[in-house]
């Protein structure tokens, strides 16, 4: 992969990969490191990667694996990550949303935040599947390939995750 191709890949998939890293790790510093390492590791593993192939799925798979590794590193090199400008992009994006009224927007923002927080509290394996399904819009087969587990496991995790989220978000769901 040439530098130009890498730049194009980052342009195309950077946001998807970075969002996944942010929600997987739960904080900016870890996400930045994971995002960076994900690209570097992807390049290392697929030196001759065909940039027209499924780079996104491959990167997500690498990110997931690296994150598992990193959790092991907690014992190895412990430190607390910061949350510098954790809400920068969200804040900017919401402000530029001129569609709904301000009250509707605030309610929607609040609900989104509640939903994201609920997802953030899921056990790691369930969280990863939810992020891959709803955030990265992968299908069951693709998630199975990314996570390296059978499709049945993905379905089961998705089911469990949704059940847990239904419980956690009961107030929000009935509120609407």
């Amino acid at each position: 992969m040439t530098k130009q191709e890498l730049t194009e890949c980052i342009d195309t998939y950077g946001r998807d990969i970075y969002s996944f890293c942010r929600h997987l790790t739960g904080n900016v510093q870890e996400a930045d490191e994971l995002y960076q390492d994900t690209w570097l590791k992807t390049l290392e593993l697929l030196e001759n990667i065909d940039s027209t192939g499924n780079v996104k799925s491959y990167c997500l798979s690498v990110a997931l694996r690296l994150w598992k590794n990193r959790k092991r590193k907690f014992a190895w090199r412990k430190r607390i990550a910061g949350t510098q400008d954790y809400l920068d992009e969200e804040g900017n994006e919401y402000l530029s949303d001129s569609g709904p009224t301000s009250e509707e927007r605030i309610l929607a923002e609040e609900r989104d935040r509640t939903v994201r927080n609920a997802v953030g509290t899921l056990p790691e394996k369930l969280k990863a599947v939810i992020l891959l399904y709803y955030m990265e819009e992968l299908n069951i087969a693709q998630i199975a390939a990314v996570a390296g587990v059978p499709e049945g496991t993905v379905k089961s995790r998705l089911y469990q995750a949704r059940k847990l989220l239904e419980q956690k978000l009961e107030g929000v769901l009935y509120e609407k």
């Binding site: 530098k3 890498l6 980052i10 950077g14 946001r15 998807d16 990969i17 970075y18 969002s19 942010r22 739960g26 930045d32 995002y35 960076q36 570097l40 390049l43 290392e44 694996r65 598992k68 959790k71 092991r72 907690f74 014992a75 190895w76 090199r77 412990k78 430190r79 607390i80 990550a81 910061g82 949350t83 510098q84 400008d85 954790y86 809400l87 920068d88 992009e89 969200e90 804040g91 929607a108 609900r111 989104d112 935040r113 939903v115 994201r116 927080n117 953030g120 899921l122 056990p123 394996k125 939810i130 955030m135 996570a147 390296g148 587990v149 949704r162 989220l165 239904e166 978000l169 609407k176």
Partner: protein, 411 residues
């Protein structure tokens, strides 16, 4: 309800977070560096054999340890006076202080002290090696157990071209390896390793500690030093038949391998087997092939269930970490470096943290309510949760918390 849930999840989880330009540039720069390093490190086989033969013949030397900080000084620099004392005693016994040129190779445990190897443009010198119980001021915990019986090793790593080592961009892995045991599995990482490092005059000093390896003294023991973050199987050959480990001569980066000569009488097969069992025990739910301590997963899962509302019920705020800061002239809350409690945990915010005040408004964060912004720890005993609270007067209060059940360690 499922449709609603789908709708909410799809909307809430739409990718919004953009990587910054600086971050993306950093990746491109690191790719360039890597390409360069890769070209430098791997040569064609025929060239490599010649080069390796030359390097092997000329790279292992005994150096005068006084050229560097002593192991005792290194330990002292990391704040471990107790360990510094043990290293000082060892050096005194070996005459390192009074007679530097004869420092290398005096006796059993420290046989490689003063030995130096040069590979891949780096020179590595072993400055100290000690094993024993309760030698450190720091109590290490892992997998729910206090690890007090440890091996400590100090090395100096420097660039042969005289340039300063840059730990921000250069990774190193220092680890004991054990003959007869797959080095990719049995190394400092799985031996509950930990390290401290710093730069002095361009030389990187690293103090490594891990579970005591003396119990393996009846096997071949090694110390590897590489220019990688973790153990890389491509850098060494492991002969499953003989159990011997050797350098991959074709690797032109740093893959030093020191042979440790320990007193065979120190071997303890029962203890050794216990360590092997602990490491080889398959981790639960590990379909990715990565060994994640269950304690770490449990701790992360437990921390993930904490909320602003239940935080005080389950956790105790560590008052020594509390900081209340106001917005500075540039519009940021700047949290100073903090430390939980050196005697218990080395968890710290070494570089402090910076929050852009524009995004931490009373509208976003209810004043007076702590917001959980991070947590880390390999077990419940090591778990540290950090929070910030936006105060009514616009200031921000930062704090670190620990689970109530382990808070006794912090009293």
């Amino acid at each position: 309800m499922k449709n609603e849930l789908d709708e909410f999840l799809t909307r809430a989880l739409t990718p919004r977070e953009e990587p910054g330009d600086v971050l993306n540039r950093k990746i491109l720069n690191r790719v360039k560096e890597r390409v360069y390093m890769k070209q430098k490190k791997y040569k064609r086989a025929s060239v490599a054999v010649i080069a390796a033969a030359f390097v092997a013949a000329s790279s292992i030397t005994a150096v005068a340890a006084w050229q560097y900080m002593s192991a005792s000084q290194v330990a002292d620099h990391t704040g471990d006076e107790r360990l510094a004392g043990y290293f000082a005693d060892q050096m005194s016994e070996q005459g390192v202080v009074t007679d530097p040129p004869d420092a290398a190779g005096q006796d059993g445990n420290a046989d490689i002290v003063g030995e130096s190897q040069s590979y891949g443009g780096y020179k590595v010198t072993v400055l100290g090696l000690l094993s024993g119980e309760n030698m450190s001021e720091y109590r290490r915990q892992s997998n729910g157990n206090v690890r007090s019986d440890r091996t400590y090793c100090v090395v100096a790593i420097e660039r042969e071209n005289g340039e300063a080592v840059d730990p921000e961009h250069e990774d190193f892995f220092v680890s004991p390896l054990i003959g007869g045991l797959e080095p990719g599995v049995y190394n400092a990482a799985s031996l509950c390793g930990n390290y401290s490092e710093f730069i002095e005059d361009g030389v990187l000093y690293r103090l490594l500690e891990c579970d005591n390896i003396e119990c393996f003294a009846d096997r071949e023991l090694y110390l590897c030093v590489t220019d990688t973050s973790f153990y890389n199987t491509g850098l060494y050959h492991y002969d499953e038949g003989s159990g011997n480990i050797s350098r991959n001569m074709e690797y032109d980066g740093l893959n030093a391998l020191f042979e440790l000569k320990m007193d065979v009488s120190l071997a303890d097969p029962v203890k050794a087997q216990a360590l092997i069992d602990e490491i080889s025990e398959p981790a639960e739910n590990d379909e990715m092939g990565v060994r994640v301590p269950k304690e770490a997963e449990d701790a992360m899962e437990w921390a993930g269930s904490l909320t602003s509302e239940n935080l005080e019920r389950y956790c105790v705020r560590l008052e020594n970490t509390v900081q209340t800061v106001t917005v500075n002239e540039e519009g940021y809350y700047v949290i100073q470096p903090w430390l939980v409690n050196e005697a218990v945990s080395d968890t710290r915010g070494s570089e402090g943290e910076i929050f852009n005040a524009a995004y931490y408004t009373p509208e976003e964060y209810t004043p007076g309510v702590p917001f959980i912004n991070g947590y880390s720890g390999a077990s419940m005993e090591e778990l540290v949760i950090t929070t910030f609270t936006i105060n009514e007067d616009g200031s921000m209060t930062f704090a670190a918390w620990v689970p109530r059940e382990v808070s006794r360690y912090f009293q």
